[in-house]
Amino acid sequence: MADDPQRNFRSAYYEKVGFRGVEEKKSLEILLKDNPLDLEKLSTFSQRFPLPSMYRVHVWKVLLGILPPHSDSHSLVGSYRKEQYQDIMEALEVMRFIKSSTPSTHVYLRMFQLESHMLPRCSEISPPDQENEDFLSISQAMEEIVEDSVDCYWLIKSFISQFHTKFGDSVPHLPKSLEHFLSQEEPGLLSHLKNSGALAQLPYHLWFRRCFAGVLPESSLQRVWDKVISGSCKILVFVALEILLSYKIMLLGISRPEGIVKFLCNIPQENTDAIVTKAIDLWHKYCGTPIHAM
């Protein structure tokens, strides 16, 4: 990246001074101009810099494989995706799994179930289990981020499947690593959490299964998901850590674990942007700025 000839030579200084993301858009555009898109470069870029919102969906789609790297076939593949979505939708409608009044998240859930052979029979529809809840909250968040329903569905589907395939193994270890980083950052808080017994009860499933869907507002959430989609689940740990640090005083004030959990499940939505920014900084600090793979 740094030796990209087309890049503004001042960008390094911009970053030093604090104007982050000045040149990102341009460089992203350059990246997106490559014909077979370089997925590696794209993912590195999205790990290092926040994505411009106008390219976010596109980049996500490319990174998640919804669109092929070859830009020539984007339209064709896009039409395929759309047809597939419509077919499934029609089929579900025919089979009366969904109605016009069904909320879109549930439609997405049914579609996903259909595609993953999980669709129960109409008569056997049971209340959504934990996994379905995760799906629903993620799809809720995604729906907020993406307008187009086809894209939305595909993104949800690909995000979840990618998350499960890629980080399925590492997710159970995330609480441990959170504890580790917390002990480095704020041992007092950790001891407080430990003493109060809240450490084990922290809302890990919200943080690490749903990737903060429903916890953070979408504007902040999408920045976290940039990192997740581009291949890092560690960011989740740092966001959680930063949440804990930001509300340290409040948490120290609460002694009962239920209170702590309750507070963490409903953290105030005001300065989440700052939290995410700090979390990303923290993540960069501990995991290092991802250097371009090339």
Partner: protein, 1217 residues
């Protein structure tokens, strides 16, 4: 009480005791008793008084206190008043009490006593004496109870009206009484007019508008009364109601009296005020009082020189205007002293016709005196003054120097014009005799004159004669007495002021009074005035004689008048002369005392009067002058005051003494008692002298039988009058005191002012001096400053010079130092350079030494080597010698061997040359081969690139394919689900059908069942098979078939499945189209490109391809055949059986299809082989012919193949060629 009670009656007579001590005790006792049980004792006292007329009782009664006594007293008096008998004493007592002015006096208006008094005056009483006494009491009372006027006003007026008309209505009443009455009415008139002018005037108007009263008005009221009052200011500004308002409250009693006197033009009445005005005039510098006089009397301008303010009024009005200059003057002064006395005198004068008769003579005489005396007078005063200049001032100083001095001094010093000089003596005389008897006499004359105007003019002549005789007699007596009692009377000299009174009484009573006068005359030692005054009567004889002379002198005047003039003229002379005589007489006897007194009394006037210079010496002897200036003035004032008070007290004491007897041992009281005793004696013992004395009285026309009574009542009346006048005088005294106080204050302030002015002046002088000194100091300071400046500048210049010198020195020093430094540095540099040079030299030499040593060592080593080389040379030379010897011995048989060697060399060279040629050819061939191979390589690389591009495209397509695959899978899932749904629905429907019971329409149902049965069965199979099918669907095509054929009859399907194995061939005909698709990911072989790719792919992975090829060859020969048939549509003549083909393939590998790979297989194998192995090169070359041979017989397929693979084979051909 009981014990005391009887003693009370005894006590009262004891009051008359002569033992003073006892008297005191008794008085204390009575007072004590009074305070405890008032009424009885009081009544007793009153009764006692009424009986005995005891002065002591009177005294006690007068001092009765407020609480209860006054009521009892007043009641008692009221009671007594009703009795005709004791009315007169009661009134007398009331008069005493009132004159005492007790604090409760204002309440008297509320008591019936006043009413009864008024009533008695108005209606009941007809006794003149009572009336006169009552009127006097009323007059006295009026100013004390101004408020009461409101109620009793008309009663007052009625009283006035009644009394005014008394004499007309009662013509039988004695003339003497009438005169008294008239005088009192006159006073009442003044009082009423002064207090209630509006009401009174209106009363007069109304009362005298009546015809019956007109006469009275004309006779009594108009002439003397109205003519002697000014118009009251209240008449202009006030109203009837207003003057009844309690405006009087703010006035004190004496204020009211003076107010009343103010409106009077009668010098006697008005003089009260004028006296006040002139009084201070006498005491204090004239300057202050002049204006007062002027304001009070616009007429004074003329007479301002002697400033008798009363004169102006009197002069124009009085019937005898000019001569009044003297009398009014004296009158004023007499009022100063004792108003009562003047009254008294006037009253007394009347009865004494000899007196009174003289009075009218006075005025014409004075008139004449004005006209005539100047000639004679002008001479005499001068003489007098020159003669007695030393004495006059001193006299003036004592009492009233101011005026007198100025008057007397001026003539003394600057002999004024005759007329003025004439006046001055006249003035000076009164001034001198301010408190002396002569003025009194003049007063008396004056007063009598005014009265006489009213009453009697006819007896003037007689009176004159009588007076003269009496006077002569008196003077004779007094002279005698003087001689006799001179020593005795000295102690009472201080009472000289009272002398007039006594003298007047004397004139009445006789020798005893003469004694008084004598004593008075003797007082001169202490108070010159009095003595002078006293002396004047002494000189009365002289005066008379002189007056006779004067009358002769003033011949112009008439008979009696001339005498009067003479008298008039004689006064000044008398006054002028007598003091001198007396003084001359006195001075040796008690000069020191006099001088000291003078000094005490009169320092300031003394200083002021130039004429008094000679006397100052005397004063200075007594007192230092410096002290006298201020202190003397003060003391004089104080002493004056004291004297006045003393006087008043004395007078009171005298009164007391006269009325109550002697309370103290003072001579005046003694005198008073003497008077009473005299009167008593007169009553009891001396009956005989009376007729002789009262020879004149017969002229009044009263019966001789009544004479005693008349005289007694006259005495009483006179006493009353006297008391009234005394009372008036007291009021004046009070006023005097007040005014004096003011004056003192004013003067004190003025003094203060002056002192402050002086101080101011002093301070201003101080300031100016200080300013001057300041200026001087400033100048000095400036000078000093200038000096300092100059010094400073000089010092500055010096400093500057020094600094300059120092600077120069510094610069010089610096220059010197610098030059030295430079020199030193230069020297140092030189030395350093020298040192360096030396060092260099040393170094150089050292270096040289080193070089030399090196050279030495070098030379040494070279020398060694030289020697060594020399040795070697020597040895070599020896060896050479030896080898030369050997060489000569060896060198013969070497040529043959050389020739042989040369031949062999040539042959060898030839063979090598041939070999080289061969090698060159070979190299050429190899080169060619290499170039060929290189071109081939480049082509292949190009191909590879193309292939890569294709691969990319394919990859792209693969992504699409993947997407579509996903789609497909999704579709599949949808389909499955749909199927599931359908099946579910079917099952539902069937279940419903089964549940429906068999009915008439069974046939139909049967048919349906028939038609559906297979379906059902199949369905059931399908349902059971479903999982299996799903599993197998990936691999087996049969499922597809079965699926496709699911609509066929179930048995057929059932048959198919088992038959599928045997019918593989048939199926194979169907499947081959599918086969390549399923086999791998290779592109379909249908297209030309696909085949190409396949070839290329094979090239890429040889071994795999080989295996596959072989497998293909092995497994699918028929497919190939089929392929050839179906795709190339090449009519393959011989339906190749697999076996033959296999054989062919086995026997000779290049079957039409299978041959194709071989060259390609071989070629790569060859290419590397050619490079490495030479021998293997032969093999392909050998093979190629064989291939050609082999191909030729192979037939038609071959060229086709070749066409297809032009590039490959062309290359191979080129290689071969």
């Amino acid at each position: 009480m009981a014990r005391e009670q009887p003693s009370m009656g005894d006590l009262l007579p004891l009051l008359e005791t002569s033992d003073l001590h006892q008297l005191e005790e008794i008085r204390g006792l009575i007072n004590e008793q009074l305070s405890t049980r008032g009424s009885v004792l009081l009544n007793g006292l009153v009764d006692y008084f009424l009986e005995t007329n005891s002065s002591e009782a009177m005294h006690i009664l007068c001092s009765v206190r407020e609480p209860h006594d006054k009521q009892h007293l007043l009641d008692k008096m009221n009671e007594c008043m009703t009795k005709q008998a004791c009315r007169l004493p009661t009134l007398t007592m009331l008069g005493h009490v009132i004159r005492k002015q007790p604090s409760w006096i204002h309440k008297i208006a509320r008591y019936p006593l006043l009413l009864s008094l008024l009533k008695c005056l108005k209606q009941t009483d007809t006794d003149v004496v009572v009336l006169i006494t009552g009127v006097l009491v009323l007059i006295t009372l009026l100013p004390m109870i101004p408020q009461a006027g409101k109620q009793h006003l008309w009663e007052y007026f009625d009283i006035f009206g009644r009394l005014a008309s008394w004499n007309l209505k009662n013509p039988h009443v004695s003339e003497v009484y009438l005169i008294h009455l008239h005088a009192s009415v006159y006073s009442l008139f003044h009082r009423l007019y002064g207090m209630y002018p509006c009401n009174f005037v209106s009363y007069l108007r109304s009362h005298y508008s009546m015809k019956e009263n007109m006469e009275t008005f004309e006779e009594v009221v108009k002439q003397p009364m109205l003519e002697h009052v000014r118009i009251h200011p209240e008449l202009v500004t006030g109203t009837k109601d207003h003057e009844l308002d309690p405006t009087w409250k703010k006035y004190e009693i004496h204020d009211i009296v003076i107010e009343c006197a103010k409106v009077s033009l009668d010098p006697k009445e008005a003089s009260c005020e004028e006296g006040y005005a002139t009084m201070p005039d006498n005491f204090y510098p004239q300057i202050h009082l002049r204006p007062q006089d002027c304001t009070s009397s616009p007429y004074t301008d003329l007479y301002s020189s002697y400033s008798s303010s009363s004169t102006p009024f009197s002069t124009p009005r009085q019937p005898l205007p000019p001569p009044l200059s003297l009398p009014p003057f004296s009158g004023t002064q007499s009022t100063n002293r004792s108003p009562q006395t003047t009254k008294r005198q006037s009253s007394t004068c009347d009865p004494n016709s000899s007196y009174g008769g003289k009075d009218p003579l006075w005025s014409p005489s004075s008139l004449c005196g004005m006209a005539t005396p100047p000639s004679s007078r002008g001479m005499s005063p001068n003489f007098e003054l020159s003669h007695s200049a030393s004495h006059l001032p001193s006299r003036f100083h004592c009492t009233s120097g101011g005026k007198g001095t100025s008057a007397s001094s001026t003539p003394a010093t600057s002999s004024p014009p005759p007329t003025l000089a004439d006046d001055f003596p006249i003035i000076s005389l009164p001034g001198n005799t301010v408190q002396s008897s002569p003025p009194r006499k003049a007063d008396a004359a004056n007063v009598s004159m005014t009265l006489t105007e009213l009453s009697v003019f006819m007896k003037i002549q007689e009176l004159e004669l009588h007076l003269r005789t009496e006077k002569e007699k008196e003077e004779a007596i007094t002279e005698e007495l003087l001689k006799i009692t001179e020593d005795k009377q000295d102690r009472s000299g201080l009472r000289g002021f009272d002398s007039p009174f006594y003298r007047t009484t004397e004139t009445l009573t006789g020798c005893q009074t003469q004694d008084k006068i004598v004593t008075n005359s003797q007082l001169g030692g202490s108070v010159p005035d009095t003595r002078h005054a006293a002396s004047t009567p002494d000189k009365a004889e002289n005066t008379t004689s002189v007056s006779d002379v004067g009358s002769e002198q003033g011949g112009g005047a008439g008979d009696s008048r001339s005498l009067a003039i003479g008298l008039d003229q004689s006064w000044p002379f008398l006054s002028g002369f007598t003091p001198i005589d007396h003084h001359l007489h006195r001075s040796p006897s008690a000069p020191e005392e006099e001088v000291s007194k003078f000094g005490m009394f009169s320092p300031s006037p003394c200083a002021k009067t130039p004429a008094s210079v000679p006397y100052e010496v005397l004063f200075d002897l007594a007192l230092p002058r410096a002290a006298s200036l201020y202190i003397g003035q003060k003391t004089s004032e104080a002493v004056h005051k004291a004297a006045l008070e003393r006087l008043s007290r004395r007078e009171e004491g005298l009164e007391d003494g006269e009325e109550d007897g002697l309370l103290t041992a003072s001579p005046l009281e003694v005198l008073d008692r003497l008077v009473q005793q005299g009167s008593d004696a007169h009553d009891k013992v001396l009956k005989l002298p009376l007729p002789s004395k009262s020879a004149d009285w017969t002229h009044f026309g009263s019966a001789p039988s009544d004479e005693l009574h008349m005289l007694r009542s006259q005495l009483l009346l006179l006493h009353n009058q006297l008391l009234y006048e005394r009372y008036k005088r007291e009021q004046h005294a009070v006023r005097n005191r007040r005014l004096l106080r003011r004056i003192i204050n004013a003067t004190a302030l003025e003094e203060q002012n002056n002192a402050m002015k002086d101080q101011l002046n002093l301070q201003s002088v101080d300031i100016s001096s200080l300013r001057e000194s300041l200026q001087v100091e400033q100048q000095r300071y400036r000078q000093l400053w200038d000096d300092r400046e100059t010094v400073v500048t000089r010092l500055h210049s010096q400093i500057r010079q020094l600094q300059q010198g120092r600077d120069e020195y510094y610069t010089k020093n610096q220059d010197l130092q610098q030059s030295k430094l430079q020199e030193c540095q230069k020297r140092l540099g030189e030395l350093e350079a020298e040192l360096q040079g030396a060092n260099n030299r040393v170094c150089h030499t050292g270096h040289l030494l080193k070089q030399m040593s090196i050279k030495l060592s070098n030379s040494e080593s070279t020398q060694q080597r030289m020697s060594f080389l020399n040795k070697q040379l020597l040895l070599l030379g020896e060896a050479h010698k030896l080898s030369m010897q050997e060489l000569q011995y060896v060198g013969a048989d070497n040529t043959k061997e050389a020739r042989m060697l040369q031949v062999s060399y040539r042959e060898e060279m030839e063979s090598l040359r041939q070999n080289l040629l061969v090698q060159g050819q070979k190299l050429e061939a190899a080169h060619q081969r290499a170039s060929e191979l290189e071109t081939l390589l480049s082509k292949k690389e190009h191909l590879i690139a193309e292939q890569k591009k294709f691969l990319e495209d394919v990859k792209c397509q693969a992504a699409e394919l993947q997407a579509s695959d996903g789609r497909y899978q999704a579709q599949q899932r949808i389909t499955q689900l749909l199927q599931i749904e359908i099946l579910q629905l079917y099952s539902k429907v069937e279940m419903e059908a089964i549940l429906v019971p068999d009915g008439p329409s069974q046939t139909c149902t049967n048919e349906e069942r028939d038609s559906r049965a297979p379906h059902d069965s199949h369905c059931g199979n399908g349902s059971t098979l479903l999982p299996g099918q799903l599993k197998a669907s990936k691999t087996s095509k049969t499922t597809a078939n079965s699926v496709n054929g699911s609509k066929e009859s179930g048995p057929s399907l059932m048959v198919d499945l088992p038959l599928s194995c045997p019918r593989t061939n048939r199926l194979a005909t169907l499947t081959p189209s599918d086969a390549p698709l399923t086999v791998g990911s290779y592109p379909s072989a249908k297209s030309f490109l696909g085949m190409r790719a396949r070839e290329l792919f094979r090239n890429k992975s040889e071994s795999q391809c080989c295996d596959e090829d072989e497998e293909d060859e092995h497994l699918q020969p028929p497919q190939h055949a089929g392929l050839a048939h179906s795709l190339k549509t090449e009519p393959c003549g011989e339906p190749p059986c697999p076996g033959s083909v296999a054989h062919l393939g086995l026997a000779s590998p290049p079957t039409p299809t299978i041959l194709t790979p071989t060259p390609s297989l071989a070629a790569p194998l060859h290419a590397p082989a050619k490079k490495s192995l030479e021998p293997r090169q032969q093999a392909p070359s050998q093979e190629s012919p064989r291939r050609r041979i082999g191909r030729v017989p192979l037939g038609t397929a071959r060229p086709r193949q070749q066409q297809l693979k032009i590039m490959d084979y062309n290359e191979t051909h080129h290689e071969h060629s």
